[in-house]
Amino acid sequence: MDWLRLWKPYIFPSPVAVFTTLWDLIADGSLGIAVLASAKRIIIGYGLSIIIGILVGLTIVRFKYLDENLSPLILGLQTLPSICWLPFSILWYGLNESAIIFVITVGSTFAVSIAIESGMKNINPLFIRAAKTMGAKGFNLYRNVIIPASLPSIVSGLKQGWSFAWRALMAGEMISATKGLGQVLMVGRDLADISQVMAVMLVIVVLGVGVDKLIFGRIEINIRERWGLDKA
């Protein structure tokens, strides 16, 4: 590669340099620590956003008045990139874990609640009528019909929420963290070590895709099989 001299190595790193850096990062343990720190944040942040998102979604579905008034607001908040909340977040929580977790939660809560809302609104009404004539009502109707019937769109909402959360985490860590993948990437930038930046970017992509495929991908395949959506 070197003899081509198309660009300078500090503009775009060579694959060899990237993998060497990656190996160094793994070997001295800094990558492992960073991944663990990031994982802890996203598990808490994303977990919170699932809980809050489901509660908000269910409330909106249940009360038409809230739906009419809150839905445009939620849609608006959903379009706002979550990193915009960082100044507020630092102001409220200080430069610490809570600030980043708040940004993650804000980033994916609305995607989850919108998915719950649209999933439950778009159920085939025949399912509900049939279940009612068999004696389903109240909580039973939710547990046995409404939730399983809206599961396909709930899962795609959770998946979307995951990718929003992942982005929010990286943005938050790049700006205000002392540990984590985003911070390692920023260290690379500060030391003008472009191969470290690229190595961390690779890790971020691999982890993001990995979770998507291993968790959401499997659930989606299972649902598609049951519902017969692969036959088309």
Binding site: T133, A136, G228
Partner: protein, 279 residues
């Protein structure tokens, strides 16, 4: 147990006027009786069934089932719809068990009963399939098995065979007669098909449209199981058709363009006035 429909009316208010879908319906359905409600499209026969089921509210009047006024849908009046309404996230056997699971019946008993009714509709081989793996007729049979497991004395059927091909339909009609003879349920069956009504029912109620009323009642006293090619059936069907035709034309007049008449083209003739081509 019997179902009594008392002075039931249903009206919708639209932008332009008020539509009386049902006007003062009074009927009694007796225990173990097979009744067909027959009428042109838009006469309110499905609305009447939904009111009996408790899925819709009557504007005035009430429905009494087993001495109690119907307030909402419930397992004592199970409904079979035109579409199977099976749940795609459950296997066939779990779909059949669905109502029993809601009723809190223990697992072994549920499984045993579900298998019994699946055997009745000849689908035990497919119990571990998902719904999308079945054909339309098989799905409707699963829906029938699911409805039967509820042990309700009243079974409401809203054109359940209307979307099936005619071969599957006639097999299911025969099976339904046998199941009815075995289970002695009170079946209220809505259809727009005269032959189907005569084939299945003890009593056929012909409905008229605008306003929806019960126009005439026919008692079908023929031996069972009935075959669709029976001459007596054809005779009775023609009789009922006469009654129904008037209503169908009334509805058609209201829906079609003004220049439509049913008298037109009674004899089909080609432009050469040659009526014998191809003999």
């Amino acid at each position: 147990m019997s179902v009594i429909v008392e002075k039931v009316s249903k009206s919708f208010i639209t932008k332009t006027d008020k539509i009386n879908t049902l006007n003062n319906i009074n009927v009694t359905f007796h225990k173990g009786e097979f009744i067909c409600i027959l009428g042109p499209s838009g006469c309110g026969k499905s609305t009447l069934l939904n009111i009996i089921a408790g899925l819709e509210q009557a504007t005035t009047g009430r429905v009494i089932c087993n001495g109690q006024e119907v307030q909402e849908a419930g397992p004592e009046r199970v409904v079979m719809f035109q579409e199977p309404a099976l749940f795609p996230w459950l296997k066939v056997i779990d779909n059949v068990e669905f109502g029993m699971k809601l009723a809190g019946i223990p697992k072994e008993e549920r499984r045993e009963k579900a298998t019994k009714y699946l055997r009745m509709v000849h689908l035990t081989r497919f119990q571990n399939c998902f719904i999308h793996e079945l054909s339309g007729g098989m799905r409707q049979r699963v829906a029938l098995a699911r409805a039967l497991t509820m042990d309700s004395e009243v079974l409401l059927m809203d054109e359940p065979f209307a979307a099936l091909d005619s071969q599957t339909k006639s097999i299911l009609q025969l099976e339904l007669q046998q199941i009815w003879l075995e289970t002695k349920k009170n079946i209220i069956f809505v259809t727009h098909n005269v032959e189907e009504a005569v084939l299945l029912a003890d009593r056929v109620l012909v409905m008229a449209a605008n306003p929806g009323v019960i126009k005439k009642e026919f008692h079908i006293q023929l031996a069972r199981p009935r075959q669709p090619d029976n001459v007596d059936l054809a005779y009775l069907a023609a009789d009922i058709m006469k009654e129904l035709k008037e209503e169908v034309e009334k509805v058609a007049k209201a829906e079609f363009d003004a220049d439509w008449t049913s008298k037109k083209s009674i004899i089909l003739s080609d432009s050469d006035s040659n009526m014998g081509t191809g003999i």
